[in-house]
Symmetry: C2
């Protein structure tokens, strides 16, 4: 079965809103999608008929297993395309969202898998959000993005945003790897670069792009 762009956008919006436990309300959805409650009600009936979600009048909505699967597929595409735009086409990480909103609806299954392989099966997108794999599994992230680490808090590198050879080459050159212990000494707002200090080394600065590709755990 295949779904319209509008249907996919509803499913994705519900997915993002139902993170906690409770059901998603009609008004929440209307706000998220910049539409009206009446339109949402109509669409929920349609999506219920397609078995993508469970919905009872006045009770709100939750995705079914099938709906979740569809949502994860869309999120996967969105985040893979964002990764592509930033790491391959040199977009700024802050200008890729709208483009990815369009690209995430391209339907070819083969395209997604080939893109994933080309990018080196990245686990996190440029914003540090996890990319679902082809089975819908995402890396869980107790780790935080290095760029969000507080100054002078010691932390340990626990993951990288991608497996690209370019990133790995740079990390090797800077002697950074999984397990490296470091802390941030300064943050420069001009270019969002940060100065980091690794034990027994002089402090040095790394770019925003590199910091965003690194995930750390507090120690």
């Amino acid at each position: 079965m295949s779904f319209s762009i509008t249907e996919e956008n509803y499913i994705k919006a519900i997915f993002h809103l139902q993170l906690g436990e409770g059901n998603v309300s009609t008004n929440e959805l209307a706000a998220e999608l910049h539409t009206k409650a009446a339109s949402v009600t109509d669409m929920l009936k349609k999506l219920k008929a397609k078995k993508l979600l469970s919905y009872e009048k006045y009770k709100g909505v939750r995705l079914s297993a099938e709906g979740k699967k569809l949502a994860l597929g869309i999120v996967r595409k969105h985040r893979l395309w964002e990764f592509f735009l930033v790491n391959t086409l040199q977009f700024g990480w802050d200008e890729v969202h709208e483009v990815a909103e369009e690209l995430e609806h391209i339907s070819s299954k083969k395209l997604v898998e080939k893109l994933d392989a080309f990018l080196g099966f990245p686990k996190f997108d440029p914003h540090g959000d996890p990319i679902p794999d082809s089975h819908g599994k995402m890396a869980i992230q107790q780790q935080i993005n290095l760029i969000d680490l507080q100054i002078n808090k010691m932390a340990e590198v626990s993951g990288v945003g991608s497996q690209s050879t370019e990133l790995l080459e740079l990390l090797k050159h800077k002697s950074i790897g999984i397990g490296t212990k470091l802390e941030i000494k300064r943050k420069f707002s001009f270019d969002n670069s940060i100065e980091i200090k690794i034990k027994n080394q002089n402090a040095f600065t790394i770019s925003q792009q590199l910091a965003q590709a690194l995930f750390v755990k507090l120690i």
Copy 2:
């Protein structure tokens, strides 16, 4: 002004059908788009109101300058994405058309320009069709694809399908460049590789991919 996917598909279809001189008929368009004549008539009125084409009842249709510009933009995107799918993502050249039909409607201007640069400003797509540049200009092609050259006809390399460093590296290694004179000795249907003979050299075979990246003129 922005256009729906349907409108863009009509404009593209008219562009491909009006290659010669005459006007494009309602029935021709209906056949091309797998729709009915009545639907075409409706849409032509709409596109005329948007000044994308000139249309008089019962007289057929031709694109305006503006319509042509839009069409060239869509063709440009289609062929750039085809090039990307084949050369970057390793799709077979015969399986990219449907995917490119979707990708050609992604609207971001910046995406197209960055993709073009990433690919090395290719002049021809994997089928040998010319890719319009950002101003809508296409390389004219008296040249034919090497893969379509008849056996034992002497020809001269007149163009390459792209400027990618990978292609140029391979061409350098094989001592092939613009102006190289060669002829095809055999074609192998198993993998579509061909055996070529360059003056004063031993014959050697080249891959389908390489042959498709080379354009020649008969001499």
